[in-house]
């Protein structure tokens, strides 16, 4: 066990963890930040996506030792009051069904909009094509990203 200093959502945390422990479990089981979701565990579905220095990363395959000192943003840190343009667009388009994959969808979309403020459908599909949703919210995710792009 080692000690790691983590910067998460603008707050400093120190955690005692195994070096090989993925960030996902540090967030969920050690820090109680359960907004980041577990689904596949091997980086295939995107439900666990967080931003690390602004880049979308799959926290289930990101070792805690690799993120010490970096800036980590989780769904809880996107806004304090559901006011991020993506969150507002998500509500306007009634995107969520079960909602479980939605934090991952939104964090991936946030990273996309930072790089590309006005993505086309094709660019959205390319950026979001490996973020899985079993309920089938894709059509509305696409619309919500366009709507948020207009707001930004």
């Amino acid at each position: 066990m080692s000690s790691y200093d983590l910067q998460i959502n603008g707050q400093a945390y120190t955690v005692e963890a195994e070096a090989q422990m993925p960030l996902l479990w540090v967030l969920r089981d050690l820090l109680g930040l359960t907004g980041t979701k577990f689904s596949c565990g091997v980086g295939l579905c995107g439900s666990c996506t967080v931003l690390i220095d602004g880049e979308p990363e799959r926290s289930c395959v990101t070792l805690v030792e690799s993120v010490a000192g970096k800036t980590i943003t989780t769904i809880e840190g996107l806004s304090s009051d559901v006011s991020h343009p993506l969150q507002e667009a998500w509500l306007a388009e009634n995107v969520s069904q079960c909602g479980y994959c939605q934090p991952g969808q939104i964090m991936n979309a946030a990273a996309l909009l930072q790089k590309n403020p006005d993505p086309s459908d094709t660019e959205i599909d390319a950026a979001m094509g490996d973020v899985l949703c079993r309920c089938g919210t894709y059509q509305r995710v696409r619309k919500a990203i366009h709507r948020a792009a207009e707001e930004v």
Binding site: D29, G41, V42, L91, V95, S96, Q102
Partner: protein
């Protein structure tokens, strides 16, 4: 015109609504003119400030002094939006502003009748009861206000949380009336709203829980946290029916964070301080499995045997016939199975993301030998279910592990656990036939696997394997008889069925000319015989044989629509769920075990594969008939029929693979 409902109707309707068991019992226990029991929050006798007061005129709701309506959702929400729909019906009849609505998940309690969420019946079976629950409360508030004004209650009206004086000059907010309303008798008759007066029902509402979901605050089963809880993952025999012969846990015990190894009946649980340590501990277990007698079983063997139980193709020259095949299907919910349990002091508390809390209560009680009334089942939000969570296996495991270790524990399934220990949609084969020249809906003779593979409900249950062969075969009949598939269907179907078929065809411009390699396909199904759905799918089949579904036009008749935006969402979702089975994934059995382990070999539909879905809803004043599962069945045949139109190839199995269609 408003419908007059007598008290007897109320009792009858609430009772008939399936959820009113205890309501009916309460009424039976009371004198015939006694009020329904009102819940009064205990007051502190020494309090001088106005004590808090919540008025709960029936089991479905309470109203507080701020006029906030809290609805008790007694069914499980797994994305189909039932919490929101229940609240919409009650809020409509009570006549409150939607912003004043809160939703709490109800207790697991027989007073709600059977709480199994399945069969898409939560609204259809509670429609009258929920409306009356709100309407009765509204009337009692009106009577309380009329007393204040010394006015005729029949002349008072309500609007968005206020009772309005007959001369419209004064109004009183509900919150100020709840104490007086609580003293009123349950009315002997009441009025329910006419559809023309709706302010909430029929408007598009997002899920009430959506803001929590998209900010990471929503609590799903896997997010439940209990003080001092531990985490466990379980090693289960990969072969169905097998168990462990022996195991060596010495390495597992040295994994940092691992606390304890618990042998259950046929499996071994690794309990740790966090989920990750539990997973590492399980990886370190050395287990010798006793695979039992199913260790050589395969899908191929089961399919061959099933085909021997249906008529052989071409065995009757009076009919045209075909055989269609459907494989095992996994549920693959995004939130894997999990459950949190705490056995202590002779009781058991359970937090189960389940469709079936009363069965969880019963099975946990049986397994732990704790009396059923001492097993509390809380239902958090659910990250997809699709029928998988009608089962109770994950909850029984958690209770047994907690009982063994004497601490609260969350059992988490990894994705491979989830795909390999599912209760699968059964494999099936279908002999479809019709007498030559007869214009009949074809006859279906089917067989399932009859195997030791655990099977269970999978979104739309028997409707998927009914719709796929039937609707594909109707297209085969049309081709054989040189008929247009739309015209033949309009000869086979009438009434509401014909209306959705016509609407979908019209909106999709059925029969329009398309380039080579593209095609339209039509299919219709009434899931559970109640909700009518027709699809026209447009596909492109590329030179590698890959099917791209570009567009699906849907027409739906589900009776009165509570939440039109959610009807559309359920159609979109049903299409996506069905397309995964039609084009991408199956569960295959080899050596007695399921071969798939994660989304690389059980791929689900992705965003770039999502067709444009257009949903057209028939306006109807029929009783609402359910939407959760109805979007799934017609998509596989609509796509298969479109593939035939595009390529001339009739594929009689799913998933349709590129190798089926390569030139």
């Amino acid at each position: 015109m408003q419908k007059q409902l007598t008290r007897r109707d109320f009792i009858k309707l609430v009772g008939a609504a399936g959820g009113g068991l205890v309501l009916a019992v309460s009424l039976d226990a009371c004198a015939s003119d006694a009020p329904l029991p009102a819940t009064v929050t205990p007051l502190s006798p020494t309090s001088t400030a106005r004590p808090p007061f919540d008025w709960s005129p029936n089991i479905y709701l309470k109203v507080d002094q701020d006029g906030i309506l809290t609805v008790y959702a007694f069914r499980s929400d797994m994305g189909q939006g039932i919490r929101t729909a229940i609240a919409m019906l009650i809020a409509e009849e009570l006549d409150v502003d939607w912003n004043s609505v809160r939703i709490e998940q109800s207790a697991t309690d027989p007073k709600y009748g059977d709480q199994l969420t399945g069969g898409s019946v939560s609204i259809s079976s509670h429609y009258s009861g929920l409306r009356l629950a709100g309407a009765v409360a509204r009337q009692m508030l009106v009577e309380a206000a009329a007393d204040v004004w010394d006015a005729d209650p029949a002349q008072c009206t309500t609007e968005a949380g206020f009772v309005i004086h007959p001369d419209k000059g004064q109004k009183i907010p509900y919150g100020e009336l709840v104490e007086a309303a609580a003293q009123k008798e349950i009315p002997k008759q009441t009025k329910i709203k006419d559809a023309s007066a709706y302010r909430i029902v029929g408007t598009g509402k997002g899920h009430w829980d959506a803001p929590q979901m998209i900010s990471g605050k929503a609590i799903y089963g896997i997010d439940v946290r209990v003080p001092d809880m531990l985490f466990a993952v379980i090693a289960r025999c990969p072969v169905f029916g097998g168990t462990f012969a022996s195991y060596d846990d010495s390495a597992a015990k040295t994994v940092p964070g691992v606390r304890q190894i618990v042998a259950l009946d046929k499996s071994i649980a690794v309990v740790a301080e966090n989920t990750w340590a539990a997973i590492q501990g399980r990886n370190a277990l050395k287990i010798t499995w006793d695979e039992g007698r199913n260790a050589s079983l395969s899908s191929e063997e089961l399919r061959t045997a099933a085909k021997e139980r249906i008529p052989q193709l071409g065995s009757n020259d009076k009919v045209m016939d075909a055989v269609y095949e459907i494989p095992f299907e996994a549920h693959a919910t995004m939130e894997p199975m999990n459950c949190t349990a705490h056995v202590h002091d002779g009781i058991c508390e359970v937090w189960a993301p389940t469709q079936n809390p009363q069965a969880v209560q019963m099975q946990v009680a049986a397994a732990t030998r704790i009396p059923r009334e001492d097993v509390t089942v809380n239902v958090p939000l659910i990250g997809g279910a699709f029928g998988r969570r009608i089962q109770t296996d994950y909850a029984v495991e958690a209770a047994l592990v907690s009982q063994a270790i004497g601490a609260p524990v969350q059992v988490v399934w990894t994705r491979d656990d989830d795909l390999q220990h599912d209760f699968y949609h059964d494999m099936s084969v279908h002999y479809v036939s019709v007498v030559h020249d007869k214009v009949n809906i074809p006859r279906l003779q089917s067989s399932g696997s009859r195997s030791p593979v655990p099977t269970g409900a999978w979104r739309s249950v028997e409707n998927f394997p009914q719709a796929y062969p039937t609707q594909c075969f109707i297209d085969e009949m049309a081709f054989e008889r040189k008929r247009d598939p739309l015209d033949l269907r309009l000869e086979l179907y009438s009434g509401r069925a014909a209306e959705v078929i016509k609407l979908a065809a019209e909106k999709a411009e059925w029969g329009k000319s398309l380039p080579a390699g593209q095609g339209q396909g039509l299919a219709y199904h009434a899931t559970f015989g109640v909700t009518h759905v027709a699809y026209v799918a447009e596909v492109v089949v590329d030179e590698d044989g890959v099917v791209h579904v570009r567009r699906v036009v849907a027409a739906v008749d589900c009776g009165e629509v509570i939440n039109p935006d959610n009807v559309a969402a359920q159609i979109e979702g049903g299409i996506v769920f069905g397309l995964t089975a039609t084009l991408k994934a199956e569960a295959t059995l080899k050596d007695g075990r399921i071969q798939q382990s994660n989304f690389h070999d059980h791929p689900i539909l992705t965003m770039d594969e999502m067709p444009l879905v257009e949903v057209y809803i028939i306006k109807s004043d029929q009783r609402p008939s359910g939407m959760g599962e109805m979007g799934v069945p017609p998509i596989a045949p609509a796509v298969a029929n479109a593939v035939f139109a595009a390529t001339g190839k009739r594929i009689r199995h799913i998933p349709i693979r590129p190798e089926d269609l390569k030139a």
